[in-house]
């Protein structure tokens, strides 16, 4: 489209829209930095003055929060590892090797994204308990990976198709096996796709709630999302500490997004519109 006549006017409007839209996020930070006894009242304060970190120290003083943050970190990293471990070879085979049933497999992966988590959580609750992996990191990582793996393959398959076939064929002629081709030729070329999948898998693992709520009762493994929810119920009106906790939960999300932003946006659109 041709450049607009007054681009800075557009920028100003866009900034206003973005600011208005993100008001809840600003409000979280605002409340979390306001002194607890100034938070409630009919005329909210738009700026946290005087500034205080009291809410944050109160929130982080709670060992349960630190433990839950650690749990979520373990779970999210586990989800990333498992997703890549299963997803890379699977999407490579589906993108490149003509096999009987590969069309059905791709279709199955699309269908796998349809069930609501709660429908899967119900049988998993019984099955994981019988298998003795309820209340374990493994049980939660496995459950979360059912969300990320189908998605990962849908994102990675088109990326792999974009790798020039001639490169692989040359390597095959030179006597590389499929594993060699994958490791030496393809993997380095698909780094952006891998980064997108890793980043998104982390975010999905970090934000997951339904499985955390239903498959883990033990505070030693419960993710931080479940803890935040129980805080909301317990300290219904201690909004300062609640918002500080929420802000702490957001930190890894913002970091991952800031670092991987370019890749993630590319991966998201690739996965949804085309597959």
């Amino acid at each position: 489209m041709k450049p607009a006549r007054r681009p800075w006017l557009l920028t100003a409007t866009a900034t206003l829209i973005t600011a208005a839209f993100l008001l809840p996020v600003y409000w979280m930070l605002n409340t979390s930095l306001t002194e607890p006894d100034r938070i409630l009242g009919e005329s909210p304060r738009w700026i946290p003055a005087p500034l205080t970190t009291e809410n944050y120290s109160a929130a982080l003083d709670d060992d349960a929060l630190v433990q839950a943050l650690f749990n979520s970190l373990v779970i999210s990293c586990g989800v990333v590892a498992l997703t890549l471990l299963f997803g890379v070879p699977l999407s490579y085979a589906l993108a490149r090797v003509r096999m009987r049933g590969s069309g059905t497999m791709v279709l199955a992966l699309l269908v796998a994204q349809l069930p609501p988590s709660i429908v899967l959580a119900a049988p998993l609750f019984i099955l994981e308990r019988r298998a003795g992996i309820d209340d374990t990191y493994l049980g939660l990582i496995a459950a979360d990976t059912t969300l990320t793996l189908p998605f990962a393959v849908i994102v990675l398959r088109p990326v792999l198709r974009g790798v020039p076939r001639e490169l692989e064929e040359a390597a095959l002629v030179d006597g590389c096996g499929l594993v060699g081709v994958l490791l030496r030729i393809v993997l380095p070329l698909m780094v952006p796709g891998l980064v997108a999948v890793a980043g998104l898998s982390f975010l999905i693992g970090w934000g997951e709630f339904v499985f955390g709520l239903t498959l883990a009762k033990e505070p030693g493994v419960q993710p931080v999302t479940v803890l935040l929810n129980s805080f909301v119920g317990q300290h219904g009106t201690a909004w300062g500490a609640l918002m500080a906790t929420a802000a702490v939960v957001c930190v890894p999300v913002v970091c991952v997004f800031a670092i991987f932003q370019r890749f993630i946006v590319g991966g998201l659109t690739a996965g949804s519109i085309k597959s």
């Binding site: 920028t11 866009a14 809840p24 909210p44 090797v97 497999m105 349809l114 099955l127 308990r129 913002v254």
Partner: protein, 309 residues
């Protein structure tokens, strides 16, 4: 002749195929174990009389469609179904319209466009539990920021306890869910807008078409396929929503926001009526499956059309 990865005629390719199957094995085995089998097990549970003892592997009894009959006879189920429809339609309507408007706006080049767009996307990436907590606070009756804004622009009666009043609680959770969905809709629709050939707009502009006419006769018709895809995806995602509602209202007040996913949770995890919960779960799959079939058929058609080019 060069060796081809996809040719079936050479023996190295037979080996390739074998390795290919081996590559798919771990991932598919995992999904079979943790996704397919549990869903089948859920279907099995739905036709059995399973209570709390079933958890420990105790006796269960085949009871045919009794669980389904009990679910369909439960007025709470239909109440939840109605709420799901309102929640889904309301969310889709607003997040798509606002997302489309924002996409049109952000499709024009201007400084800081990319940065602002990424900032908007943050709303979509926040854990739903966090967004739910934020909106619980924003919509708080006395001290919530949105009520303060309403009091500032209009009569005091506009401000209310959005999530505590049964008449407005559903609107409150739809509002929060729209906030989460808008950036995603915008992102996908932007991709669609960028595929429209700018020369079409230029030619129409030269012929004297107004901005409105170009939107009506060029952009909207060409955006139709992308829009349908975005709406189908949105339908699947929105119908699934559990966490944001659970955190904001827990389904209350008095079941005013207890959509189907929360209904399943209640029956299964609160009352431990596993058989009936499983039956409700199976029924919950109907809408996403229908949307999924629509989505896959569209993809197939697109692939065929691309193949023909």
């Amino acid at each position: 002749m060069r060796p081809r990865l996809t040719s079936a005629s050479r023996s190295p390719s037979a080996r390739l195929r074998r390795t290919g199957y081996l590559f798919t094995l771990p991932g598919l085995a995992f999904l079979a174990l943790f996704l397919a089998y549990p869903l089948l097990y859920n279907a099995w549970t739905s036709v059995h009389d399973v209570g709390l003892s079933g958890l420990l592997g105790g006796a269960t009894r085949f009871n045919g469609l009794a669980n389904y009959r009990a679910t369909v006879a439960d007025p709470d189920f239909w109440h939840a179904a109605r709420l799901s429809v309102v929640f889904t339609v309301g969310s889709l309507l607003f997040q798509f319209t606002i997302g489309f408007a924002l996409a049109l706006f952000f499709a024009r080049p201007f400084p800081l466009n990319g940065l602002l767009r990424s900032l908007l996307l943050v709303a979509w990436l926040l854990p739903p539990v966090v967004s739910g907590t934020l909106f619980r606070w924003m919509l708080d009756g006395e001290s919530g920021a949105y009520n303060a804004l309403l009091r500032a622009v209009g009569p005091d009666t506009l401000a209310r306890d959005w999530l505590i009043d049964p008449g407005t609680a559903l609107a409150g959770v739809v509002f929060a869910n729209v906030w989460v969905g808008v950036p995603f809709n915008m992102l996908l629709l932007l991709v669609g807008l960028h595929t429209i050939d700018p020369e079409l707009h230029e030619a129409a502009a030269i012929d004297g078409a107004s901005a409105w006419q170009r939107l009506r006769w060029i952009t909207l018709p060409l955006m139709r396929p992308v829009s349908v895809t975005v709406l189908l995806l949105g339908l699947v995602y929105t119908f699934k929503v559990f966490d944001i509602i659970f955190v904001m209202t827990g389904g209350g007040p008095v079941d005013a926001t207890s959509v189907l996913s929360l209904y399943v949770y209640e029956v299964f995890f609160r009352f431990f009526r596993f058989g009936e919960g499983a039956a409700a779960g199976v029924l919950l799959l109907v809408v996403p499956l229908l949307a999924g079939i629509g989505y896959v058929r569209r993809l197939r058609r697109e692939e065929r059309e691309e193949g023909a080019v």
